[in-house]
Symmetry: C2
Subunit: 444 residues, 2 copies
């Protein structure tokens, strides 16, 4: 009986989900292709991004997997642009990623231009030698058409793993992409790189340089398979600053840990994670140095953090944005262990989705992390509410206060280990039925 | 609009779940207290376990958290019983666990008897000094009542974390527990230790010793917060073998890695995991040596493995039992990393729940594991079906074969890394909406 009942219940629930569209006739489909926007999306929509001199964008429909939407973007970068990158450390990373890494390690011809080409719908990952061939074909074609060295053409692919990439569909569109290139099309580019994303992601900043303003504008995509080593995400950030390649790479590397490497939706690292930072040098401002360089780095950090948090805001099925703020750890490694142990705990994440202030699960996540911790020295706070300390619940803590706090869309869970001075903040979202729905039939 | 829609959709789904009981009038409640039995439960029900001479059981209703069910069990062990144990390595482990560990390290009075006392409904974890006081009060009372040294009374508590344990309710029941003690009540004990479990777990084996049979009988509980370092689980295994304490501990330690430390429901390690193995020495058989000892170890391993797999079969919301079988790894540590990376991947687990043969997510989980892997040397199989090798999908593989395989209740996902000779198997279950439902409102 029990088994029959269980299966019938599961079937009924699945039917219910299928029938949601009839309950909500103003939505035609609840699928990956036509889905409601995340409740955590920025209320103001896609921001107005400044034009970056020396960068042009184009996007087209190539029909790689999705229909009736743009799925390939091309970015052309003016001669003299310096480029830095950061990539997934997955040992099964895609051909595009390996190709970008090789090219970034290559000596760049003086004054050469550059290009980025990105498709969504198919990640071209785990596609063997055929995948490498596709990367070569795409980047060679772009290089020839734009008359730039192939070592300056970087590609990314995002989407399903293990399916052959129909790269001829991309190559066919290269002339159209090139003729569409223009400076003010970054918003179309942001849309073209989306997969399960429910909104396009952009962020910008401006810094006063010596001789004029320096602009930064970035776009990103990512929603599931998000975890450190950088989340399943693609991000492209452009600036008109004058910065040598080595300085640019140093800035990127120094700021990635606290931004893109501090987010996790589901602890699953992708094979395709890519962040590329391009500096065209076309601002009238001189190369930033001293306090201006510091201001630029702060602004860049802000753009990187904003894009990273937008990815969490679009976490598959997310209804809560949660910062896990760990302080008082013995070492930086311990702080990270505790922060990610909490951020990746399915029990913590389901409790958050149920708006249950279940701090016992936070204790358990601290305990399993492998970091040095002492039951009697750690404290736990929900926002400013002291929930537990000295090995037990704070006697003044009332469950109703915790429960009221959990109703908010954005939460801070703060853990002080009371042992040392190391700290780490990471961001995650809750784990909901919608995550299961999205991922149980992503491909079907 | 989108946000309103989203919230309405979530509310509608939640209502649907609440209304399931009206769809299925023969089930009164779908809650943690009255839930359908897991579809993966052994079809034959709770097994008939042999009596172990020198072990007596009792269980009563103490009303610690649950109503109308037994929630405390007592086990009395005859003088001369040797005891071994294995425990969670959580740094926030409970007072009971610390107490058991201290006592097992204590020199045992010759010929003393022993006792185990276990409650469900409250884990007495993260309850500070009050928690330690509760453990002392309970074990001291049992020691006095049974006239055995307190260093030979071991306690466990399982259930919600961080709530004070109303231990007076347990102490009041000790006389009743003692008067109920009998050899053939192990099934009642198995029921009394359940929390979110949907069925009681038992396993047994018999080995022919020199001079008579040697029996093994064990019980376990566990359903969520199951991960290595030993899963949120309690297990008590009894044998009438004559085995010195040091031998018993060696047998336990040697077999725990491939059994209880190879299961994961949700990667969440508990603060209370406890396995206690007791040998009364009351079998007519001589102390097992040589081939008989080997046979005994094999039988013990079988009981441990069976109990561990029953915990996965009762994984919260589980509809599939999945073995992740990794071979060809460079080191044992690498094999374990890959196996657990796959077994804990939410994307792999949701794909399994959707019966989607999504091998790309397995590739991604291998890649993120941190183990040495080479895209072009690894292979992936679903059961006997070769899905991928040489860096790509097997050209003979057909999606419909993979999809048909995934419909089964019990699956084997085999990964050969093609690099070395190390291997590891671990067991997990799928990740379903039911897991979310159970854990989003465990306490409410």
């Amino acid at each position: 009986m029990a088994e029959t009942y269980w299966k019938a219940a599961a079937k009924a629930l699945r039917e219910k989900v299928k029938n949601l569209k009839s309950l909500f006739p103003d939505q035609t489909k609840i699928t990956k292709d036509a889905k409601p926007v995340s409740p955590l999306a920025p209320k103001s929509g896609f921001p107005a991004l400044p034009r970056i001199l020396g960068v042009e964008f184009a996007a087209v429909e190539a029909g790689i997997r999705y229909q009736n939407r743009k799925d390939v973007m091309l970015v052309q970068l003016a001669p003299g642009t310096t480029i830095a990158g950061a990539f997934t450390r997955s040992s099964t990373r895609s051909g595009c990623v390996r190709d970008c890494q090789t090219k970034l390690a290559t000596k760049v011809p003086t004054g050469a231009g550059a290009a980025l080409i990105v498709n969504s719908g198919n990640s071209n990952a785990f596609t063997g030698k055929a995948g490498d061939k596709a990367v070569a074909a795409i980047t060679n074609n772009v290089a020839t058409a734009l008359n730039i060295p192939v070592s300056r053409v970087f590609s990314s692919s995002t989407g399903v793993i293990g399916e052959p990439l129909p790269y001829d569909r991309i190559i066919t569109k290269i002339p159209q992409l090139i003729s569409n290139l223009r400076e003010n099309a970054i918003d179309m580019a942001a849309q073209a790189i989306m997969t399960t994303d429910t909104f396009p992601k952009g962020s910008a900043a401006t810094v006063q340089g010596e001789g004029g303003p320096i602009h930064i504008a970035g776009i990103a995509k990512g929603s599931g398979m998000i975890a450190p080593d950088m989340a399943t995400m693609l991000a492209y950030i452009f600036t008109d600053a004058k910065l040598p390649q080595a300085s640019l790479q140093k800035l990127l590397s120094r700021n990635i840990n606290a931004t893109f490497n501090s987010i996790t939706v589901d602890s699953d690292t992708s094979t395709s994670d890519t962040l590329i930072l391009c500096a065209t040098g076309q601002s009238p401002a001189a190369e930033p140095k001293g306090t201006i360089l510091k201001a630029f780095e702060t602004a860049l950090h802000g753009v990187m953090r904003d894009l990273a948090l937008q990815i969490i805001r679009d976490g598959e099925g997310a209804t809560k944005l949660v910062e896990i703020r760990v302080t008082g750890a013995k070492t930086n490694a311990d702080a990270a262990k505790v922060a990610f142990s909490i951020a990746n705990s399915p029990l913590v994440k389901t409790a958050i989705s149920g708006e249950d202030p279940n701090w016992g699960r936070i204790v358990a996540a601290i305990g399993k992390s492998g970091a040095t911790a002492d039951r009697d020295r750690l404290s736990i706070r929900f926002g400013d509410i002291l929930v537990a300390e000295k090995g037990w619940r704070n006697p003044k803590y009332q469950e109703k206060d915790g429960a009221a706090y959990m109703l908010q869309d954005e939460l801070v869970i703060a853990v002080d280990l009371g042992i040392g001075r190391a700290k780490r903040s990471v961001w995650t979202c809750d784990l909901t039925n919608r995550y299961i729905e999205i991922n149980a039939d992503y491909r079907s």
